[in-house]
């Protein structure tokens, strides 16, 4: 698939989604809205995992920072419920990016399994504050948001909110796509494939990884702001280890290094967690099986299946076995 046909396909699917969604019931609209938000989170993680080769076990931290900032500003300062919603959106991205800039000082030095562990520890720091800092975060109970913002449009309407989220998702996808196709994004891919060689060529690989870490954090924060208003509630459950692990699965299931794959993975995982769980009590078997089968049989994710079908006429693709961040 050439990049143009792929872009057309993605645009077509998105357009279809935007046209069909309002005609479904409110449960489905909210489900799609939440899937789009998690898709932003998954794409932010894909910048790290898929393009830079850094598997983060703490991406939920940035979702949590955006979400808690939104909830705290709304309940304690009555801020962000009108036009100031857009300011909160920006603040959420900035605070999450700033946190990532601080965390990155510790994490980006590490690689492979140590990067996994240190991002796990940093993510747990944020979770610990959310869970225990009662006076600020409401502890175990979390915070209920008063209402969705209302300015020219009433976001209380699920359809209106869907369109806002949809627009921001499309904008994020576009921004991240431009980013990964830029020379900077190409250098990230170079670092993923062979960091030592990139360093020898004179690239400041630490700075590249550090910037990728910050950008990923910022988009995670954006997802967090939207997540808080989608649910009307934030709690430590949003920041737990399993949320970070789910985000990793979304990327790996969809296909790392494709952006769109993360979005597809997000839809699948959310469907299992939020929809299948309402149908059958044993839905976790399906979730566990998806994890295991993805790892055993889908090394390149769902997007990889599409690519594999066409491999016969394209003699191209990533060199096998070059994806080994621990060796470099």
């Amino acid at each position: 698939m050439t990049s143009r046909t792929r872009a057309v396909a993605v645009a077509g699917v998105l357009l279809g989604l935007a046209l069909i969604a309002p005609f479904t019931n409110s449960f489905v609209i909210l489900l799609i809205t939440r899937a789009l938000i998690l898709a932003i989170l998954a794409m932010s993680l894909d910048i790290l995992l898929g393009f830079t080769g850094l598997p983060s076990l703490g991406q939920a931290a940035y979702l949590g920072i955006g979400a808690y900032l939104t909830a705290i500003l709304a309940t304690k300062f009555d801020f962000g419920l009108g036009w100031s919603f857009w300011a909160v959106l920006l603040l959420g991205m900035l605070l999450a990016a700033a946190t990532a800039a601080f965390f990155g000082l510790f994490a980006v030095r590490a690689s492979g399994v140590y990067f996994l562990m240190i991002t796990l520890a940093l993510g747990q720091c944020v979770w610990g504050l959310a869970y225990r800092w009662n006076s600020m975060t409401g502890g175990d109970n979390g915070i209920n948001l008063p209402r969705r913002p209302a300015f020219a449009i009433q976001l209380a309407s699920d359809v209106a909110y869907f369109y806002v989220v949809f627009g921001l998702f499309a904008a994020s996808l576009l921004a991240l796509y431009v980013l990964v196709k830029s020379p900077f994004g190409r250098s990230l891919e170079g670092i993923r494939e062979r960091e030592v060689r990139m360093r020898t060529l004179g690239y400041n690989t630490w700075l590249h990884k550090y910037l990728a870490f910050i950008i990923a954090g910022g988009f995670g924060g954006l997802a967090g702001v939207l997540w808080a208003h989608a649910n009307g509630h934030v709690s430590p459950e949003d920041v737990v280890l399993t949320t970070s692990v789910d985000a990793l699965l979304m990327v790996v299931l969809g296909g790392p290094g494709t952006l769109v794959g993360g979005a597809i993975g997000a839809a699948v995982v959310l469907f299992l967690r939020e929809y299948l769980s309402t149908l059958v009590p044993w839905w976790q078997y399906v979730l566990g099986a998806v994890y295991i089968l993805t790892i055993l049989y889908l090394p390149d994710g769902l997007m990889g299946i599409a690519a594999r079908g066409r491999r016969s006429d394209i003699v191209l693709g990533r060199p096998e076995g070059a994806k080994d961040p621990a060796v470099s």
């Binding site: 720091c125 979770w127 976790q284």
Partner: protein, 284 residues
């Protein structure tokens, strides 16, 4: 003074429980470099299996080895059938072990239900000892004794047997170990089963202290990682010191500054990883 003594004692006894959980995880990490996210599940399932054995036979003493051995078998199968195939890829290992953790979670829910359960230890262990005017719960003393006994056995095996030497060699340099004829694949299998065994043992012992309930698996798992990281991976002494530090820090954190008590646990973990990735007492 009294406060400090009691809190320190509580911290040490909690640390004893963490040692059972953390020592196995540390050895697995050291030998195989696997971030095993189903380790908490072994702990939880160990408790549940013990519960069933107690229900069926009425014997708490019998429940301990049965629970530990059955989970060792689960670990063995997981390692042989699934983890072995992945080779060295930390990310895929993590996601595979999470997948199993979710399967175990659902299975536990289906078999044992969603209520909080308690493992009731024999009455002889729940008496209160009085030492120097302090009332010490007998069960906490028992936990410390078990951890010390297990620690001693592990230390003797690791330092004074051929098997232990092979494990240490694999931790230090798996490639060299293979080169001199050590079957590192078997070592991995043995260590993974041992880790599951110890975690399940911790689950049985801890069941009389924390209780057994859905969600305990993912609740205790990050704490076990804190033990491993702070102490140092692949080192028994490290796991012992790590679990003591975490146990005491956790207790004092919750008593003195509850609002940031988990932060005070995970921030040092991140800091140690950044400055000294092998942990405070890890093997270089």
């Amino acid at each position: 003074m009294r406060f400090w003594l009691i809190q320190t004692f509580n911290g040490i006894s909690y640390g004893a429980l963490l040692f059972l959980l953390g020592s196995g995880l540390s050895l697995i990490f050291g030998v195989m470099r696997i971030v095993n996210l189903s380790h908490g599940s072994y702990f939880l399932l160990g408790g549940y299996v013990a519960l069933s054995v107690i229900l069926a036979t009425g014997s708490w003493v019998l429940a301990i080895p049965i629970a530990a051995l059955s989970l060792a078998l689960v670990g063995l199968v997981m390692e042989r059938v699934f983890l072995r195939r992945l080779g060295f890829d930390p990310l895929r290992q993590v996601l595979l072990t999470v997948g199993f953790a979710f399967l175990f979670q659902q299975a536990a829910l289906d078999i044992w239900g969603g209520d909080n359960k308690d493992i009731v230890p024999p009455a002889a262990l729940t008496r209160t000892a009085v030492v120097g005017g302090l009332f010490l719960p007998g069960y906490r003393v028992f936990m410390i004794a078990v951890a010390m006994a297990i620690g001693l056995i592990l230390w003797l095996v690791m330092e004074h047997t051929r098997l232990g030497a092979a494990v240490r060699a694999t931790v230090d340099d798996a490639q060299m170990a293979r080169g001199v004829g050590i079957d590192t694949s078997r070592i991995s299998m043995f260590i993974f089963a041992l880790g599951a065994f110890l975690a399940a043992l911790g689950g049985v012992i801890g069941g009389g202290f924390l209780g057994i309930y859905p969600g305990l698996d993912f609740q205790i798992l990050p704490i076990a990682f804190a033990v491993v990281i702070i102490g140092g991976m692949g080192s028994l002494a490290g796991a012992a010191i790590g679990s003591l530090l975490v146990g005491i820090a956790d207790n004092f954190g919750k008593a003195l500054f509850p609002e940031i008590s988990y932060f005070t646990l995970y921030a040092p973990m991140a800091l140690i990883l950044a400055l000294r990735p092998t942990g405070l007492f890890g093997r270089e």
